[in-house]
Symmetry: none
Subunit: 191 residues, 4 copies
Amino acid sequence: MPKVKDQNKVNAIYKATIELVTKTGFSGLKMAEVAKKSGVATGTLYVYYISKEQLINDVFVVTKKEVAGAIINSKYVKGSFNKTFKAMWYGYFKYCLLNPEKMLFVEQFIYSGYITEANIIKTNTYFEPLNQFLIEGQKNDYVKKMDVALIKAHLQGAIHEIVKMVVREGLKLKKKDMNTCFTMAWDSITE
Amino acid sequence: MPKVKDQNKVNAIYKATIELVTKTGFSGLKMAEVAKKSGVATGTLYVYYISKEQLINDVFVVTKKEVAGAIINSKYVKGSFNKTFKAMWYGYFKYCLLNPEKMLFVEQFIYSGYITEANIIKTNTYFEPLNQFLIEGQKNDYVKKMDVALIKAHLQGAIHEIVKMVVREGLKLKKKDMNTCFTMAWDSITE
Amino acid sequence: MPKVKDQNKVNAIYKATIELVTKTGFSGLKMAEVAKKSGVATGTLYVYYISKEQLINDVFVVTKKEVAGAIINSKYVKGSFNKTFKAMWYGYFKYCLLNPEKMLFVEQFIYSGYITEANIIKTNTYFEPLNQFLIEGQKNDYVKKMDVALIKAHLQGAIHEIVKMVVREGLKLKKKDMNTCFTMAWDSITE
Amino acid sequence: MPKVKDQNKVNAIYKATIELVTKTGFSGLKMAEVAKKSGVATGTLYVYYISKEQLINDVFVVTKKEVAGAIINSKYVKGSFNKTFKAMWYGYFKYCLLNPEKMLFVEQFIYSGYITEANIIKTNTYFEPLNQFLIEGQKNDYVKKMDVALIKAHLQGAIHEIVKMVVREGLKLKKKDMNTCFTMAWDSITE
DNA sequence: AATGAATGAGATTTCATTCAT
DNA sequence: CATGAATGAAATCTCATTCAT
């Protein structure tokens, strides 16, 4: 949580943190390197964040919010279930393909021991509209009857793993493959 | 006749490492704690593993092998596609539910910066039989036509995420839910 | 404006290193003790030198340069061969008597396994002018005809051994003895 | 000081110790390596020597005795001063050329902090006959009048330094050069 | 506020020595 | 006596954090 304002610095630190974690793995994330990469002094880092834990938590929350925004986009919520689901699924899938480092960041750190329980709970609320949307889908017999948390987990897990694989192997997904991926998702959740 | 190298110690170290990572997150994995928990002196750790990195890589490879063994089980390979797939899926799903710490361990460390590229490649080969099984399924028009790596990713990602959620929230999956989870998996990959 | 790197610290570290090696023998040189004696934190040592090896190499090179400076002193190079030689010999002899710890340091560490080959070569060049002076002396038939490296070795070895003995036994060299020592040196190299 | 008898082991340990110090410098001398190189277990080392310090001191004393033997050889003591001196000088010079690792060992360790004062004093007595010989030479006006310790230091220092140089540079001393070296030694000490 | 040198607690690793076999 | 696995005190080095400028 920044104490002061230079938004350029905040952005630079945020960017550097995400990039370093993606590059060196998060066990190698050093404050000195974050400082260097973001072009500020180590001391300055502590003007903006009181500790490494704070920095990581902050980056985590900000990123998680952005991730949620990629799925939950008000302009879609008025369409049919299928159309809306498709929009959400593609929204998230493409976001992950474009920002794998952010996707990885939140995935990695959630079990790292760095993120506070409070922040995990807090960021989960960002996905509440998605829950509502799926519950609505169940009421209308579109969606398999089961705890929506499990359904979300199924969808998210599948997307993440596919994207990680694509990124790791340096693949280029064709439109056809992406459509098949979507069909897998759709088939899995619908009755 | 000197003391002889002790497999019990290796096992104790392995167990301690997995448990500590699961408990404290692996940014908090300390050699001193591994030593303490496994009941050996710190120096002894270095009799068996030349460095922390080596220890983690070793635990990673051993665990990944065990994980692969949970899926690929020769007694199933003679059944129908559906039966075999079901056996594999349940085999893996239940393994993950019973050993979430091992599942987490391999998932976490793969992006930690600790695991060498060579070990990542090596452990991937353990899953080759699964690839073959899915390719066979595609030939017989059971399975959607797409790079099997993507299909595997979809299946694995979904399972992992569900299990992580179940563990995190302390849920107890009912038989019915587990069946629904399986149906999701089956529906997603079949044509 | 941040704190600025402090030459006083470098000097203090240098001094502490030499003194500790002289006092405890260098098998007992510990970074913690160097830090303590030079009045800095252990971490600070690593701000200035990336490792113990680096520290020792640095102290070695600096000292060797100073040692060379004790012999090769431009104000003498214009005199007769005898006068110049005498000036150099006394210059070095007295330097060693006054700074036996520095003489010992370079002598000890050269075979310690700590000094890199590059630094050994580098520091040898500091003595080039002495080579030239002796070669000149040979051309004018003052000096015995032989590889000047051997002549230098003879002179230096004799001085070092004498000084070591003097220091070890706590002797006080009388003027007469010093003159005899010089005569030994002079007689040994002249035709 | 061996507790027991297997002389082969004692010899192997002695040889390994000297060789390792010559190769890796003595700051890198490790008991485990001595054990390995001499073909015994680490535990066995401690059957023969109660500590590393003991081992090194023992090797030191044994070697120093051998070194003294190379100089002081009863068959020469009856000749003229010149002949005897020449025999001694060549005896020592050639010994050093043939066994530089032993010469280095004693030279290195004397200031390492490992050798006890008692052993330094003890080994000095081995050279007593040389002292007597030089004193006799002074009485007969062959040798410059000065503390014989200084004369010995001068001679020994010169020899050591020359040999070190020869070994370091991989030179091959010609007979003529060796004679010049002797002449330097002779000229330096005679009146 | 910004800097980066300085700090020192704490981590990893080493290695002389011990001890069970 | 011989072995080498086991030990743990102590060494080196790291790095999040502080602080003088």
